[in-house]
């Protein structure tokens, strides 16, 4: 290697030596010939003739040296750069085209790399599996605390398992009251994920049990915000929901990947949860588990072991666990499974865009190769071998692609940053996306590949032309055959663009279909948020709590801009779900939870009907007289009515609700609401919905309400922020330790359920537009070239009396022929390929005729326009000038 390096450095010298050596030979030979009687001129001539082509021999001498490759590469690069500088227009167009194509690929690849390819940021992430309970209505339902403890004790496949559940606390005693986000956890969670405390210690064994002392781990962000990252924080206490917790450690920010994008302030052992249902085996409280497989064990083994445990539990606790299984998902699939198909389709799309870019640049090179025929003809005549010419041309095209790739890196850097800023929640692991070595390598690889791909064909062609045609000018035949190639190229890029357009069209149609779905309520102008009462209320008796909520409700009702207000407990459409169990009055109480009837449970105030714009179908909705002193009433939805009271009027019927002492009367029926989202609501088996009165919540549930209850408000006017500010100040005025948090409008909630789909659609449409633009530029370029080549012919035709309209039609029909061919091929390809994105579509068949026809028409229109401009130029040809041309 060092030897090579020295040779390269000494290259100038070697070149000079070679020159002197050969000159010496020639002069010596000439001298000998003069000696034997020839004249000086004759001697020189003969010496040269005998010797042959000096340049060719020099080249062969260079070839003979192994370092040759590197040397000629440098030479080629220098030469290539010179050529590019001489044609800045061509270089600029080619580099920009490639930068767009490569940049789109780099950007999407950096996303794929961060989200799909890079392993999750935990040790041996492939061993991590999330754990859920499968129930009749939920395949991945929440795990009850007692079941978790039994899973923990009895499983043989996991080295450890843990559970967690998102929650919130209101912090008092440190300035203004503040709502903190928190996660209930068990001891093994952080060690299992390889997360070590930055300061202090993690949870000790047993510290997560019910009845253990209140301790808390804080996140680095919270530590910095509240304590200025002081190491003195250990042992201090925090007042959370009016209880004092001792800080035992600080953990890094956001270690809870499986829990979604919200960063947590606190981590609290789950045993501290004051919910009395925590220790109830049948309760579904939104708790989910995660486990780490023992070394060498498989997912299937884990599943069969967990099945065994679930069967044992069902036998031991039939009342709660009958029909309950354990369901497992690898963590990686849980985190990224949803976006994987979208990302793969996007990656395929940018691949198409890049292909179009390559075809365009190949076309440019081909057009230019005609004008460079002479240059290479001369080089061939001087003895340059064909391989050498191909290499030179490939160096030039790789150089172009390299410049394009470099520019692409910057483009991709900016666009990914911009993209991630504008679409924060649509992507899991978004914070892990960036330009790492793998992305750089990818960009380098596709740049080189592109250079070879778009350069090889024109290079081979040009070297052949140079070989055969030598220095002749104006070879008509070679011109027409290159035109044929260009036509093929245009047809190919038209086809590629069409495939992308079809994909984008199908996504647009899916989204339009989804947006037009009626969610069953009026989501516009609805604000949802949460309120937690002052810590003093947390241990208050149910009566005091009810009267506090009454007070808040009446003052919120009169807030400016508020039209209707309701508390919500339990389910909120598209946001949270909660279930209630019931059976018909007059029947015995079913023995197990699985034998009861299930319904979604909305615990609301009378204002809910107006607040959500819910259509009332029969009877009445809840009103102010349905309170803790009156007999319980419920309102049901169509789905519950049809399922449990087919062909009957449900109004006036009595049902027994699991946590009510008295039977409840059905007083009305409302329209079904799409609880599970605009898409896929009907796929969920749990459809029945029941509305209960907030004030009629049983006491044991009411005492939980102060630490966090939902509110929905219908507001007037365009913006929710003014209304939210006035609500906030009213709540503060009542008690400055009351906190409201988590405000989100119903429109935002709906649109966030469609976020992944919407952003994929936007990106896909952007790529399709880019493809269309590139294809149009390609068509325009070829047509301009065609017109340029045929100037003379057109001139003759016009001199012979052809009308402008005729010339126009002739040129356009030529362009139309190749785009139609391409479009036909594109439609066929789309028919085959669009099936692959079927799972991304909603309510649209992958071969939707409307989409196919519409995008083909759009493409044809753009293509015609791209043909029309050069065609019009053709009609402006001055016959006299054209004839004089040659």
């Amino acid at each position: 290697m060092k030897y090579w390096l020295r040779r390269i450095i000494r290259k100038q010298g070697t070149e000079h030596e070679l020159d002197s050596e050969l000159r010496f030979h020639l002069e010596q030979r000439a001298a000998d010939l003069v000696e034997s009687g020839a004249t000086r001129e004759e001697a020189n001539r003969r010496a040269r003739l005998e010797f042959g082509g000096v340049e060719g021999i020099k080249e062969e001498c260079r070839e003979s040296r192994r370092v040759h490759l590197v040397e000629t590469l440098l030479q080629d690069v220098r030469y290539g750069l010179r050529m590019l500088r001489r044609n800045p227009g061509f270089a600029l167009v080619a580099i920009l085209t490639l930068a767009l194509g490569i940049g789109a690929n780099t950007a999407i690849f950096s996303v794929v790399n961060g989200v799909l390819l890079n392993p999750l940021p935990y040790p041996h992430p492939e061993q991590l599996i999330t754990l859920h309970e499968s129930k009749p209505n939920f395949q991945y339902g929440s795990v009850s605390y007692p079941n978790f403890r039994d899973w923990q004790k009895n499983n043989r496949v996991f080295s450890s398992i843990a559970i967690s559940r998102p929650t919130g606390f209101s912090l008092t005693g440190m300035g203004d009251a503040e709502q903190l986000t928190a996660l209930f956890i068990t001891t093994d969670l952080f060690p299992m994920l390889g997360i070590k405390p930055l300061l202090g210690r993690g949870l000790a064994a047993g510290e997560d049990e019910v009845g253990a002392g209140p301790v808390v781990l804080i996140s680095a962000g919270f530590w910095q915000r509240k304590f200025g990252s002081s190491p003195e924080v250990l042992g201090k206490s925090l007042t959370l929901d009016a209880r004092s917790y001792t800080i035992i450690g600080v953990v890094p920010n956001r270690p809870d990947l499986a829990e979604g994008p919200q960063p947590n302030d606190l981590y609290v052992p789950i045993g501290q949860w004051t919910n009395p249902l925590l220790t109830s085996r049948g309760a579904g409280l939104g708790i989910h588990g995660i486990g780490r497989l023992k070394d060498g064990l498989t997912f299937e083994l884990a599943r069969s072991d967990m099945d065994r445990i679930a069967a044992n539990l069902a036998a031991a606790y039939p009342k709660e666990d009958k029909g309950i299984g354990a369901s497992l998902i690898p963590l990686r699939r849980q985190v990224v499974g949803r976006v994987q198909p979208f990302l793969i389709v996007l990656l395929a799309c940018v691949g198409f865009v890049l292909m179009i870019a390559c075809v365009n640049v190949a076309n440019l090179l081909l057009a230019r190769s005609i004008s460079r025929k002479r240059e290479f003809g001369v080089r061939t005549a001087l003895g340059a071998p064909a391989g050498r010419i191909v290499r030179q041309l490939l160096t030039e095209s790789i150089l172009l692609a390299g410049c394009g790739g470099l520019l692409a890196l910057f483009l991709a850097q900016w666009t990914t940053k911009f993209m991630l800023k504008t679409l924060p929640d649509a992507l899991p692991r978004a914070e892990e996306i960036g330009m790492d070595a793998k992305v750089m390598l990818f960009t380098l690889a596709i740049s080189v590949l592109c250079g070879v791909l778009f350069g090889l064909f024109p290079a081979l062609r040009l070297s052949r032309l140079a070989m055969f045609s030598g220095m002749k000018e104006g070879d008509a035949r070679s011109g027409s055959s290159s035109l044929r190639t260009q036509n093929t190229f245009v047809a190919v890029e038209t086809a590629l663009a069409l495939v992308l357009l079809v994909g984008a069209g199908l996504m647009v149609r899916s989204l339009a279909k989804l947006w037009s779905i009626d969610p069953g309520f009026n989501p516009h102008n609805v604000l949802t948020f949460n309120i937690s009462l002052a810590p003093g209320m947390i241990k208050a008796d149910p009566e005091a709590i009810r009267s506090k909520f009454r007070e808040i409700e009446s003052s919120l009702k009169s807030a400016p801009g508020v039209e209707a207000i309701s508390f919500t407990w339990g389910a909120v459409p598209l946001q949270y779900d909660d279930e209630v169990l019931f059976w018909m009055d007059g029947q015995p109480r079913p023995s197990s939870a699985q034998d009861m009837n299930w319904s979604l449970s909305y615990v609301v105030s009378p204002g809910y009907l107006q607040g959500m714009g819910l259509p009332l179908l029969r009877g009445r909705f809840l009103n102010d007289s349905d309170n803790e002193h009156s007999p319980p009433v419920v309102v049901i939805d169509q789905a519950l009515a049809q399922r449990f009271f087919p062909d009957q009027d449900p109004v006036g019927k009595l049902v027994r609700i699991d946590d009510y002492e008295q039977p409840a009367e059905i007083v009305g029926v409302v329209k079904h609401v799409k609880q599970w989202g605009l898409e896929g609501d009907e796929r969920q088996s749990l459809q029945a919905q029941m509305y209960r009165s907030f004030l009629q919540l049983p006491d044991k549930a009411m005492v939980l309400a102060p630490s966090g209850t939902g509110v929905i408000a219908r507001y007037a006017g365009k913006s929710s922020t003014g209304v939210f500010d006035s609500i906030r100040s009213i709540v503060r005025r009542i008690n400055r330790d009351q906190v409201i948090f988590g405000a989100v409008t119903m429109d935002e909630a709906i649109s966030s359920t469609l976020a992944t789909r919407r952003y994929s659609m936007i990106l896909l449409t952007a790529f399709a537009a880019l493809a269309l633009l590139l294809a149009a530029v390609g068509i325009y370029g070829v047509m301009s070239y065609v017109v340029g080549q045929r100037t003379q012919e057109i001139g003759i035709r016009m001199a012979l009396g052809a009308r402008r309209g005729h010339v126009l039609a002739m040129v356009i029909s030529r362009g139309a022929k190749m785009t139609l061919l391409g479009a036909a091929a594109g439609l066929l390809a789309s028919l085959a390929l669009s099936r692959l994105m079927a799972q991304l579509l909603y309510g649209v068949s992958p071969t939707d005729p409307l989409t196919f026809v519409a995008v083909a028409a759009l493409l044809a229109l753009i293509a015609l326009l791209a043909c029309y401009l050069p065609a019009r130029r053709a009609t402006k040809v001055d016959p006299m000038l054209a004839l004089r041309c040659e």
Binding site: L18, E21, L22, F24, H25, G52, G56, I57, S64
Partner: protein
């Protein structure tokens, strides 16, 4: 008459051997080598100068020849080649090889008579 060209691998090897054989007699420049080859084998084959120089450079690159600029008897600077130790070994090996092959060929031709 046969023309030694680079096209045939076999003849390329023969040319290498021929050059080594000439250079091994003492430092010599390219023009003199071409003259010498012509003298030795005037009637058998002719080395095109186009092939000689690439061969010299190839042999130098492989480390069988080394080159040095020094004045000729007329006082001009010329590139003189000498055979390296590695080159000598190569020459010996090639000669042995050649003898074996030509012996074998001769044997076949004799038997065929």
């Amino acid at each position: 008459m046969t023309t030694i060209d680079q096209k045939s691998e076999f003849l390329k090897g023969t040319l290498d051997m021929l050059i080594l054989k000439i250079v091994v007699l003492g430092p010599i420049h390219g023009y003199a080598i071409s003259q010498r080859i012509q003298q030795i084998s005037r009637d058998v084959f002719q080395v095109q100068q186009g092939s000689l120089y690439p061969a010299l450079h190839r042999l130098e690159d492989r480390g069988w020849l080394q080159a040095e600029w020094r004045p000729t008897e007329t006082g001009r600077e010329a590139k003189f080649y000498t055979v390296t130790r590695k080159g000598r070994r190569q020459l010996e090996a090639e000669m042995r090889n050649w003898e074996q092959i030509s012996g074998a060929v001769a044997l076949i031709l004799d038997t065929a008579k």
